[in-house]
Symmetry: C2
Subunit: 430 residues, 2 copies
């Protein structure tokens, strides 16, 4: 353990959100000592490492759109102008929609386009031409049993793609370190230390009538205290805040990723042309069960996931593992009917992590209670909003009313808080 | 166990909310078989029995005001016109406010008065005259240590008072039974039974891509199934819904009540004149720590409680007990400085229960997911909204867009849901 145990600012969690917050806070306050604490052995080894790591600016909520759009612009700037490789590939997001879904999507689509989101509509025939591996109208007995409907249209988000979470994390980690920010790894926070703001020195403090502040954290390596606290602990946040009576409003939800190697059969899919300059299939969302896959060209594979909503417990698993049965029964039947090229393909490996789900509106929460900021509610879209989130957190930290994002757009900080929350409900959570 | 295990409607929880919901649903649907299930041996033995059982129409949120106002009108109608005794005593709510708090209160007050809430402002001098036991400006060493401020004004909610929770529960229980509603007591729900809406008969169902419905409950006495489910399980609701991945957004918060017998010293306070026709002290809220007390004339005592926010865990205790230390250190110092008549008075007994806290907006939630309605978020004000809640639930049950309350006011049902929630944030949660 390092000798120093008091810092001006203590940030718990070295995931992508904690790193971006740390960097932007330090950048705005170079004279403050800032420590990032994490239970893992290095940065971005928790949920960040488990992510599908896709980025998109197609959100129905204005706040999500602003956060994602600016973050993507920043990533593009880093990679294409500053030549800092983030593994960014603008492959696009392709929603395959039934007629019913297209009608629902349509209203959102218009609004998104008005806000500058670039979308391309693919007719059924285009899809048939471009993706020979796609079955637009499944007709097998199995697909009747599943009730699979015909794909009516495709909608592609153009300013969307994938990144390498490690490389994005590396950027913030390096820059934060360059500014003099410090890290303390392998240090798990056991509890937050709640104290009276004006202690009387009596046993049993803090009492109910006293104003309270969180002064630091208890860890196995002792206590770390700070003048200001920031929790970037994602799905673990309720475990830290519930015992103090602070409701951060998110709950953990397990999500799984299955990786299939693109052997001979899947090569053609991986090298689909016509959707992007990289000549690969976009991240593709099937019209059922939230099943989706992204290409990972570098490792010649496809990562597959599904959104299970009702039926998947809202709970944190200490050692989350991907479930073979989930792939077999909840993903494979849908996937292999629309894309028969996946028939008999098995995952080479798989992993699982947790969303910090905000079921209320699917939009991030940046709030401060008892001297402790918490940044939660990424609902699976943390990496694609991380830069903007960091800037809003820094603005909130410095008590500024407005945050200015990388792309110049401005966001009223209080909109993301719980007290005066003013965000739309997000309709697109995968 | 009764022979019949399938009902048209199954309502879990025979607290005041479950009873009112059961009555109004049955009343609107007399031909449906309706079962109310509860783990206790009789109705209203859970959190309802632990309540301070006060009723008020002073809320900052319009929805809360509508719900409470109509419920109070209904209780007045029952007691004063139908002569069904609910133990209703319109003693009023008296907020004792510092100058700072009065300024904050003032904005809300104006809005409430415009909406028909009857308030009376008491000047400092009035308070001094009417309550000789009240110290308006505590000057002791102790009070300086506590930082207690001077009371600047009093605001009395006139259409407010107290009820007997047993008697209110008895009304709905009796009327529901009269309509042919059934009860099953001593039956604890272990889990909800989630099934596919269109089962395929395969092992492992429901799968992620299947539409899901809650078909019933598993109990130690076997399974009870129903076409429609209603959860009125208050603070226990997350325990039932989290495992199914359904977020009801409330968390349990322990609240305690301490009962002090009004012996010689407290007699005068109990018999304070000038505030109501009953010549008793209103339910009185002190300007610190959420400390408040209500008169219980029938048992010649005062019930005392406090709102502990940050510092009190958001968790459910299986056997919640009142804590002596909480009374001694978080209530007594404040109480005995403003009301020295409480000096050296000890609780004769005490008890504790749980709020089903909705920290987001402090307003009830009536939502349906997977064929299961849940009614939560009373945040400590269930009894005072129970009748209106029952009517909104019945309207939601029958898929009506609007609910008509007892007093004729109308409320759009979807406003209380989570999907299109449109309620103001409640500023007055005790």
């Amino acid at each position: 353990m390092k000798g120093r145990v008091h810092y001006d600012v203590l940030i718990v969690g070295a995931g992508i959100i904690g790193l971006s917050a740390a960097y932007h806070i330090k950048q705005n306050n170079p004279d403050l000592s800032v420590l990032v604490l994490d239970r893992n052995a290095a940065a971005a080894q928790g949920e960040t490492a488990k992510s599908v790591a896709a980025v998109r600016d197609c959100f129905t909520s204005e706040v999500n759109r602003l956060l994602a759009k600016s973050t993507i612009e920043f990533y593009k700037h880093l990679q294409f102008e500053s030549h800092f490789n983030l593994g960014l590939e603008l492959v696009g997001y392709l929603w395959l929609l039934t007629e019913f879904e297209f009608r629902r999507f349509n209203a959102f689509m218009k609004r998104m386009q008005e806000q500058g989101v670039r979308l391309h509509i693919w007719e059924r025939e285009d899809l048939a031409d471009l993706i020979p591996d796609l079955v637009l109208t499944p007709r097998s007995e199995e697909s009747k049993l599943l009730g699979l409907e015909s794909i009516h249209m495709g909608v592609q988000g153009l300013n969307c793609g994938t990144v390498s979470p490690d490389m994005v994390a590396k950027y913030y980690e390096t820059e934060f370190g360059r500014l003099g920010g410090e890290f303390q790894y392998r240090t798990e926070v056991k509890s937050l230390y709640l104290a009276s703001k004006d202690p009387l020195g009596l046993p049993g403090e803090p009492f109910a009538w006293q104003e309270k502040v969180i002064r630091g954290v208890e860890t196995e390596r002792g206590m770390f205290s700070a003048d200001r606290m920031v929790l970037a602990t994602g799905a673990l946040t309720p475990r830290l805040l519930d015992p103090l009576g602070i409701d951060c409003l998110v709950k953990p939800k397990k999500r799984q990723v299955f990786r299939i190697r693109a052997g001979d059969v899947l090569q053609r899919l991986l090298h689909t042309k016509g959707f992007n300059e990289l000549d690969t299939i976009p991240l593709t969302i099937l019209p059922r069960g939230g099943v989706h896959f992204r290409p990972v060209r570098g490792e010649k594979s496809l990562w597959i996931a599904a959104a299970d909503d009702v039926g998947r417990p809202l709970q944190y698993e200490e050692e989350p593992a991907a479930e073979e049965s989930f792939f077999n029964y909840s993903i494979y039947p849908i996937l292999s009917e629309y894309f028969p090229c996946f028939k008999d393909q098995r995952p080479a490996n798989a992993w699982a992590g947790h969303y910090d789900m905000n079921t209320l509106d699917g939009t991030p929460i940046i709030e401060e209670v008892a001297n402790c900021m918490f940044i939660v509610g990424m609902s699976g879209s943390g990496i694609m909003k991380a830069d903007a989130i960091g800037r809003v957190v820094a603005a909130a930290f410095n008590r500024r009313e407005w945050a200015t994002l990388f792309d110049g757009s401005r966001l009223m900080v209080s909109r993301l808080g719980l007290r005066d929350r003013a965000v739309g409900k997000e309709e697109f959570v995968l």
